[in-house]
């Protein structure tokens, strides 16, 4: 499969109050970004468990983008404290096992950061595109 053909599949988990609203603002502002992303709205980024992320990779996601409120802005005060703990741990575990930690990214994006949202999706999609299909998938297909 050449790079040209590869269209990465990106899964986004966005919290209802900040990043999802930031994504809406990107829309209201007509900021364009690649259409590779599929979005699951969650109430808080703290709702996303490592199981969910691993399942996404198992099912063939090339990248998983989690978006939450900035620390201090969490609608649930401190729900995102757990998000950062889980994501940082999982990234390091993926690194140790060679499961490509760069395919999991956490970004704090506020409801006012439409441009940041669009830029993050652009950058992440581009990064994953360059990385090519996930090893896990290639291993399975092989």
């Amino acid at each position: 499969m050449s790079d040209q053909e590869f269209e990465p599949k990106i899964l986004g988990f966005f919290c209802n109050w900040c990043t999802y609203a930031g994504a809406d603002l990107a829309g209201v502002s007509r900021l364009q970004y690649p259409s590779n992303i599929r979005v699951i709205r969650v109430m808080c980024s703290g709702t996303v468990s490592p199981h969910h992320v691993l399942k996404a990779f198992q099912k063939g996601a090339d990248g998983v983008l989690i978006g939450g409120c900035h620390i201090g802005d969490c609608h649930y005060l401190r729900g995102n404290y757990m998000t950062i703990k889980r994501v940082r741990f999982l990234q390091d575990l993926l690194k140790f096992t060679g499961f490509e930690p760069g395919r999991l990214h956490l970004e704090w994006i506020s409801a006012a950061e439409g441009p940041k949202f669009a830029q993050t999706v652009r950058d992440f999609t581009e990064k994953i595109r360059k990385m090519g299909p996930a090893r896990l998938k290639s291993a399975r297909a092989a």
């Binding site: 691993l54 399942k55 404290y81 390091d92 575990l93 060679g98 990064k127 090893r135 896990l136 291993a139």
Partner: protein, 269 residues
């Protein structure tokens, strides 16, 4: 052994504990046994299991404690078993008020084999303290691999899995009634090898919980180096959250509290 037996005898005869969970030689095999005041004479045959015959005594204690909630029990513990007790206290599975550890120090051979950083209990009733092993060479070796090689290495190991659940069933820290490894929404069912994430899911659960007893790896018929994975998971928990798994002074587990402030930052893309 005399010192250990004397302690056990006192605990039982004075009624400080309702039973002592230790080992007894049966048909020349050391097997877990519950010593009780009713059969005090058995204490003469109480032994410390040799290094290569170990059982998850902590795990046996949980249903016992559940069945007799008012009773206290003594239990033979190595360093790892005692770490297990400490974690089980934190995770609400045992009550420290109801447990009396009878401590054992491991031999140097055992400690070296386990790469154990704490091969003795806080109270030593049997054995001599040996040199702990601060660093795991097995972990370091994997850490030096290039990511792609590490992936192939691990994936190769994971693919050998026959999904016998032995790692879970022997693990003293696996206390869930409903196991994620059998969660049909999370894991594909009816296929071998299992999903590649099978061992990673288990590693997540072991992080900050694994007491590094090594029983999983010894049990695994496929020879998956599970211990290396969980040692690393614990090391990450130490690095990220400064949490020493199994230490009585480590404070609450990072997975059990939000924390007053967020100390970590997101990684750049």
């Amino acid at each position: 052994m005399d010192k250990l037996r004397a302690k056990v005898r006192t605990l039982l005869s004075e009624g400080q504990v309702a039973g002592y969970l230790g080992y007894l030689i049966k048909d020349s095999h050391p097997l877990p046994h519950l010593f009780t005041p009713e059969n005090l004479e058995e204490v003469d045959q109480a032994v410390v299991a040799p290094d290569n015959a170990r059982y998850p005594l902590d795990k046996l204690l949980i249903p016992l404690a559940e069945r007799y909630p008012e009773a206290a029990f003594a239990i033979q513990v190595r360093g790892c078993d005692e770490r297990g007790l400490n974690e089980l206290y934190k995770w609400g599975q045992l009550d420290p008020e109801k447990v009396v550890p009878v401590g054992v120090a491991c031999t140097q051979e055992q400690a070296d084999y386990c790469e154990c950083p704490g091969p003795w209990a806080s109270v030593v009733d049997y054995g001599e303290k040996c040199q702990p092993v601060a660093k795991s060479l097995r972990v370091e070796q994997v850490a030096t691999l290039a990511e792609e090689d590490a992936f192939q290495e691990w994936l190769g190991a994971f693919k050998r899995c026959i999904k016998c659940y032995g790692c879970r069933d022997v693990c003293p820290m696996c206390f869930c009634k409903d196991c994620s490894l059998e969660h049909e929404d999370l894991m594909s069912t009816g296929q071998l090898p299992p999903d590649s994430i099978f061992q990673l899911v288990r590693a997540i659960h072991m992080a900050g919980r694994c007491i590094d007893c090594g029983l999983c790896e010894e049990t695994c018929p496929a020879g998956i180096p599970l211990r290396v994975l969980y040692k690393k998971a614990n090391a990450l928990v130490k690095d990220l959250f400064d949490y020493e798994t199994g230490s009585p002074t480590a404070g609450p587990s990072p997975w059990k509290m939000l924390g007053e402030e967020a100390t970590l930052e997101t990684k750049p893309m």
